[in-house]
Symmetry: C2
Subunit: 435 residues, 2 copies
């Protein structure tokens, strides 16, 4: 078994890899410091040895909060070109990573096409491929063998996928807890549902838990970063922070320790739908139970009734989660719960998540995060519209919105000639001349 | 002086008004309890005796968080019909209150037209009218007399305006602090800027502070609710929670006590641009310094670089503020900082603020707030799309988004036939038959 090629094993040996140098440069920090963070498992650098052209990205403590965009076909809509188009949109909007969650069409071909055009870390959920193949071949997901699951992971690794979501914590004990307590929305994770169905049918333990070492061996070979999935992710506010969710998290914490021991990079996934007031405690719990492993959250969505605007409900939850210590935000698009996202949705989703991530970075004191806001405020004070546009998160949207009602006064059309900025030209030496 | 007609004086006398009955009914609480809250000043019911057709609305402790939509012409765009159109949009989107912030056109005529079509509480900033008139008449805001300010307030009260923003806390001491400390964005409140310019030119104290009793007398006559404005509202993250802002808040707290003593209903306005991590402390501070008076926040916007999507940055801040105890959210539209909002902006602004308010209501345990989310989750589990649409915050947006990619499987087009909800039909009795 090869055991010395992951970023984690290299960092432990004190070897600063080119990936670490790249990430340290992007984060404006010392490579030595970053190397220590990787060695401790506080930071991961998802970088499959087979992913050509990857610009590495770090995720974890002290770094900027990163944003992931989920892409992928569905059974009913499976055009490769549409996926590549969405990929370009996600990248142009500033996504730090993308996941290919395809379940329709020629899955390996789609994955390879996406990888070939993807300079950022690519993630996937290999069990989708195993399950979809089993349904096509045997008519049911329960026809999937244990080997099918591990072979799918192996294929994804060989192709160059940088991080994989694996729902190792959906154990028989978790399902028993779920059954005894009940839930409003049950299991909403697709991977979790595939595994639960398989386990109940075969009356067996989760193969990804039982044969976790086999999974680790595959990850070691390609330096795949494990993203320990939350199959019991609450899909309703009412189900948040229940025994099933927390039991799974305890198990994930146990597996984080085993992965690190073996030299495999690992992060942990989190909710989900969750009341605003429970988010901080959930982040604290994840950090404690999982030894400070990077935390990757989907949302959290702070209400269940926002469909059509769940990029906003998740921006609220994501900002609060990241400010509390979450490291990686999975975007949610305006189409969540309703439809497969199109390119416009992808753009809105990435932008909303980036606003949340940036607000959190300022709150948690990530180095340099507030500088752009300071420069923007200075440009705003000067009514320097070109500079404001340049500094805005989305210059294109800025220009489009501003052009709706242009005035000659040089101010925006809201205040026009009664612009407070113009009236009080200088907060230091306030003058009334302009009024 | 009439001293017994405000909701506050009535409540103190133990008289449950028809407005209290209406608000208690809407909030599903006992009228007696509401009456006690009004008597203590913890809840205000802005209800000018001259506002015909008003459906009263309560704002404060224990009630649902309310949402205000700012409307109003600017010097460059001043069509009455456009304002009435935006008013209808705001009401249809569910705004609990609106403010007419017009600064262009025939201000009294616009205000009366809006009032005639406004069943929710209407707010205004009377100093805009005094200042705009002074500029038209004397060529400068400094030409405005003290009487001009109070007469404008009196006119607004006589017309039926339910709450007025008055920047009573912009004192000479506050301006001295502002000057000595400096700011990136200075004063961004228009009312605050008008007053500061006037004070500096005339070397006089703020008339609204110095003659606060004259203001109270007007409010008592019509039961205008005071909304003590924050003229030193930070307009940049870098300026948040500075000495000028907090000194103004201390003064507003002093004025809250004086208003209550006289029988005038009063709430307090707050920021503004503010780092996510400072919001809770600011809400706590307002509640402590201002004797628990209802807190009305603009945003807060948690980053300065979101122009074009500041409805999202303010939804993040607003949700956190309201969860921490803020009672009233002023919406921010996607056009903020860039352009006068149009009807589409008004709709997005109201919806984003309502999502924030609702998420906060769940977090702070407002009675009944979580019930709709629970019902939505149950409908989602059953794949009952009609019921989901009915329960969603914006059924129109829900339908439009869902129609983008309809599938025959009955699930949404994102997961299609691999819907986790369908795979695991029932969290209690998980079955694999469908897989």
């Amino acid at each position: 078994m090869v055991t010395n090629i992951t970023q984690l094993t290299q960092a432990r040996a004190g070897n600063i890899t080119s990936e670490m140098v790249g990430v340290a440069c992007a984060e404006e920090m010392e490579a030595e410091l970053l190397c220590r963070e990787v060695a401790e498992g506080m930071v991961v650098i998802p970088a499959n040895v087979n992913h050509r052209g990857l610009i590495p990205c770090g995720i974890g403590r002290g770094l900027c909060t990163k944003v992931n965009a989920n892409l992928g076909t569905s059974a009913d809509f499976c055009e490769v070109d549409a996926e590549l188009n969405k990929l370009q949109t996600a990248l142009a909007a500033g996504a730090d990573a993308v996941m290919d969650l395809s379940t329709g069409g020629d899955l390996p071909a789609i994955r390879r096409a996406v990888l070939a055009h993807c300079p950022v870390p690519l993630g996937s959920v290999p069990i989708y491929e195993a399950a979809v193949t089993a349904i096509a071949t045997h008519g049911a997901v329960v026809g999937m063998s244990e080997d099918d699951i591990f072979e799918a992971i192996e294929r994804h690794g060989r192709d160059g996928v940088d991080f994989v979501t694996v729902h190792c914590g959906v154990t028989r004990r978790v399902l028993a807890l779920l059954k005894s307590q009940g839930r409003v929305a049950g299991i909403v994770s697709r991977g979790g549902a595939f595994l639960a169905a398989w386990m109940l049918h075969h009356e067996k333990e989760n193969p990804l838990y039982e044969h976790f070492d086999r999974l680790l061996a595959i990850c070691l070979e390609y330096d795949i970063t494990l993203s320990l999935g939350d199959g019991l992710r609450p899909g309703s506010l009412a189900d948040a922070t229940d025994r099933a969710q927390i039991e799974e998290l305890v198990t994930l914490g146990e597996l984080v320790a085993r992965a690190r021991k073996t030299g495999v990079q690992v992060m942990v996934e989190g909710p989900g739908h969750m009341p605003l007031g429970e988010i901080e405690a959930n982040v604290m719990l994840q950090k404690k139970l999982c030894g400070g492993a990077p935390f990757y959250v989907l949302g959290p969505l702070v209400t269940d009734i926002g469909a059509g605007r769940d990029h906003i409900t998740s921006a609220i939850g994501g900002a609060v989660a990241a400010a509390a210590g979450a490291d990686f935000l999975c975007y949610v698009t305006p189409s969540e719960h309703l439809s497969l996202p199109d390119s416009a949705d992808v753009r809105e989703g990435v932008m909303a998540a980036r606003l949340a991530a940036h607000a959190a970075d300022i709150a948690k004191g990530v180095r340099g995060a507030a500088a752009r806001d300071m420069a923007m405020s200075a440009a705003r004070k000067k009514l320097d519209w070109e500079e404001q546009q340049r500094l805005s998160l989305d210059p294109e949207c800025f220009a489009k919105t501003r052009s709706k009602h242009l005035t000659e006064s040089g101010a925006c059309s809201m205040c026009g000639r009664y612009c407070a900025m113009k009236m009080v030209e200088n907060g230091l030496g306030i003058t009334a001349e302009r009024c």
